[in-house]
């Protein structure tokens, strides 16, 4: 049987802020026998520009993304629910008037798979590594509500031998990041974050797991600012440990 070959869509946050987590993604995938390829020249999918109304700029970034990924082979695996949702659901809005681009968008969108979804739904993996600890899980907004992915991350956590997963109160409430929202309306953003952090603390978990580095940055940033330890980790980071 030939190995499954995937294209790794790193995302700008993992590439530049958390390269070790990007490496963890590769480690976890390779452990499952997946051949990981990394298209060169990756930057940003354009989501921050798109969400704040700069569609022309977002379209230029989307075009760059399509140039890198359209001709590469196999599923495009992305360790972020919101970046995956951007390509999968919003690129078509950017090229509504360009039928030629739209065909490329649809072909690429159909190949995009979020990391936990790819592991569980496509590869059929349940145990992908990880150490025993008390975990809780924050289901990020775009992963659950835009991609409709609910369950794979929990499955992977629940199959870590000896690990315990405690439910997070108000789990599906947004952490308050929202891209530039966090800077434009910092007061509301921080209030949402504080509620989320209080809920995480109430679980007494060692680690809060999330599938989006943006939410992770927001929550850990809040914890550090409050003098606490940053216990939010990306799923790949948790699974790579074994």
């Amino acid at each position: 049987m030939s190995r499954v070959r995937v294209q790794f869509f790193i995302t700008c946050l993992l590439d530049h802020l958390y390269p070790h987590i990007a490496q963890d993604v590769v480690t976890v995938l390779e452990r499952q026998g997946v051949l990981v390829e990394v298209p060169a020249g990756q930057t940003c999918c354009g989501q921050p520009a798109f969400n704040s109304g700069f569609w022309a700029e977002a379209a230029s970034m989307a075009r760059h993304f399509l140039d890198l990924f359209a001709d590469a082979e196999g599923p495009i695996v992305c360790p972020s629910g919101s970046c995956a949702a951007m390509v999968k659901h919003h690129y078509r809005d950017l090229f509504a008037d360009e039928p030629e681009q739209l065909a490329r968008v649809e072909a690429v969108a159909a190949r995009v798979r979020e990391f936990s979804q790819f592991l569980v739904e496509d590869l059929g993996v349940e145990h992908a590594g990880g150490r025993r600890a008390r975990y809780t899980y924050h289901p990020s907004c775009h992963l659950t509500r835009e991609l409709g992915v609910r369950g794979p991350a929990e499955t992977l956590l629940d199959h870590i031998p000896g690990a315990q997963r405690v439910p997070l109160p108000e789990a599906e409430a947004c952490c308050g990041f929202g891209g530039f929202f966090a800077v434009k309306l910092p007061v509301i953003s921080s209030a949402m974050m504080n509620r989320k952090l209080a809920n995480i603390e109430a679980t007494k978990a060692d680690v809060c797991v999330v599938c989006d580095a943006s939410c992770m940055t927001h929550m850990n940033g809040g914890l550090i600012a409050q003098g606490k330890s940053p216990i939010v980790k990306h799923l790949a980071e948790v699974l790579a440990e074994s």
Binding site: Y18, Q23, P48, G53, E57, M61, E172, G222
Partner: protein, 465 residues
């Protein structure tokens, strides 16, 4: 005028408001979830409701004319109001022509939208709000903060204080005592009123009926006891047939309060007939546009599918934190931040579409599945096109996009940022101060360090070895 950030700060520091919101919101959310879970075909019902709304809005002109014809055939007088001023003028004219002095009202967000009460009061008319929440709001000279629960920002103990001051009930009155106090104050008003003013949850084109749902029975009193009933109807609130109405009512009550059906559903079809002993002598329907055709003509027509259940407010984490008043618009919450600029224009309401993380809780809760995040994205794009985006953001995004389409430039920019970052104070290795507008981040959050070498740099190096 304080901006949204400032208004949000005030709301977040208001302990009474925070307590009131925490007591109520979760109750609404759970009620809706349980009501739909109890229905074997709940999701299909929502799909059906959405189809009805989509079809109605797509053929609104025909349905409105059909409504006018069937209403007139019932003896209902139909008026068309292009804007708020026209609607107010029509109500005032009806009142004057009929020597009206006292008016009772049932809850209507549309009358809030057109600021009807102030006009009527200026004209010397006595106006009494009869929905309990609206009655409290009126007594306290306050405004509703939720589209179906106007006093969600009030606690019982504060209502007791208000009633004690105005109506003489004991300061420590419990809920049944407060209800009894309100009921006796309202009863007098109902009996003396010359005219009842209501909104409409729906108007049925097939039968020319106005449909009102309430839980207190005040809607039925307002529309039967006085000589004249005036219903203000937003032009989008059409149910083409009674069959469609049945579907819409099923999702409305479940989404709003978690009830299978509201306690009172009144279907009012024309004035009192010669063989009838009760009911108003005149029924008027005022069809109000007030910007709705503007929404209908543009990208935001889908917002007119809204049946005003309030479910999106109840699940919205922004609303949950700041309540309704901080929005400073008649319609707060997810529906408010779209419908307000959609009907009132973006220029005066440009800050509203920013009040969302695009988390999507609203679209998931909406009984007719209105894609509110998608419309917020469109409004934000319009905002940029019209030049309302702050200068720093415009420049920043343009530079970022330029770098992001030139991978080597992107890499160099990251290297520069890495160096710049060394000048910031740190905590656990994370920056505690970012420059310029980004300082809003670091006020409550640290920012992680940029990596010495990006993952793609590391990967390339490895593959060249």
């Amino acid at each position: 005028m304080p901006d949204l950030n400032q208004r949000a700060s005030i709301a977040l520091q208001d302990a009474t408001l925070q307590q009131a919101l925490n007591r109520t919101m979760e109750h609404f959310v759970q009620g809706r979830l349980q009501a739909f879970a109890a229905l074997p075909h709940g999701e299909a019902l929502r799909d059906q409701a959405r189809r009805i709304r989509a079809h109605t809005i797509a053929h609104l002109d025909e349905h409105l004319l059909a409504l006018e014809r069937s209403a007139q055939a019932n003896g209902t007088q139909v008026h068309w109001a292009a804007d708020a001023a026209a609607a107010r003028k029509i109500v005032l004219k009806i009142a004057r022509e009929n020597d009206v002095r006292r008016i009772v009202k049932s809850k209507s967000m549309l009358t809030e939208e057109i600021e009807l009460n102030a006009t009527l009061e200026r004209a010397g008319l006595d106006v009494l709000e009869t929905d309990l929440g609206e009655f409290i709001v009126q007594l306290a000279h306050d405004h509703p903060s939720h589209i179906i629960a106007p006093v969600v920002h009030w606690r019982v103990e504060d209502v007791a204080k208000l009633f004690h001051q105005h109506l003489g009930s004991p300061l420590d009155a419990d809920i049944p005592q407060l209800l009894a106090t309100a009921r006796s104050a309202l009863r007098e008003g109902f009996l003396q009123a010359d005219m009842g003013v209501s909104g409409a949850n729906f108007a049925v084109a097939e039968t020319g009926s106005v449909v009102l749902v309430t839980n207190e029975g005040n809607g039925r009193f307002v529309t039967t006891t006085p000589r004249i009933h005036v219903a203000l109807v937003g032009i989008e609130r059409i149910a083409p047939t009674l069959r469609d109405l049945g579907t819409l009512l099923q999702v409305l009550a479940r989404s709003a309060t978690g009830q299978a059906l509201s306690v009172y559903t009144s279907i009012i079809t024309g004035p009192r007939r010669s063989i009838e002993e009760d009911g108003p002598e005149q029924v008027h329907i005022i069809l109000v546009d007030n910007g709705r055709t503007r929404a209908l003509a543009g990208d935001l027509a889908e917002i007119l599918y809204c049946i005003r259940c309030g479910a999106c407010l109840n699940v919205c984490p922004v609303y949950h934190n700041i309540g309704g008043h901080a929005y400073d618009s008649v319609y707060p919450g997810p529906i408010g931040i779209v419908v307000t600029p959609a009907i009132g224009g973006l220029a005066p309401w440009r800050e509203l579409p920013q009040a969302s993380t695009l988390c999507g809780a609203c679209v998931e809760a909406c009984p007719v599945r209105i894609d509110i995040p998608r419309m917020l994205l469109k409004l934000r794009a319009q905002s940029v096109a019209e030049g309302y985006a702050p200068g720093w953001l415009q420049k920043g995004v343009r530079l970022y996009a330029r770098a992001a389409t030139h991978p080597r430039l992107f890499r160099w920019a990251a290297r520069l940022a890495r160096i710049a970052q060394w000048f910031a104070p740190r905590s656990q290795g994370w920056s505690r101060r970012l420059p310029g507008p980004l300082a809003a981040w670091t006020k409550t959050r640290a920012f992680p360090p940029l990596a010495g070498a990006s993952f793609s740099e590391q990967w390339e190096k490895r593959s060249h070895q």
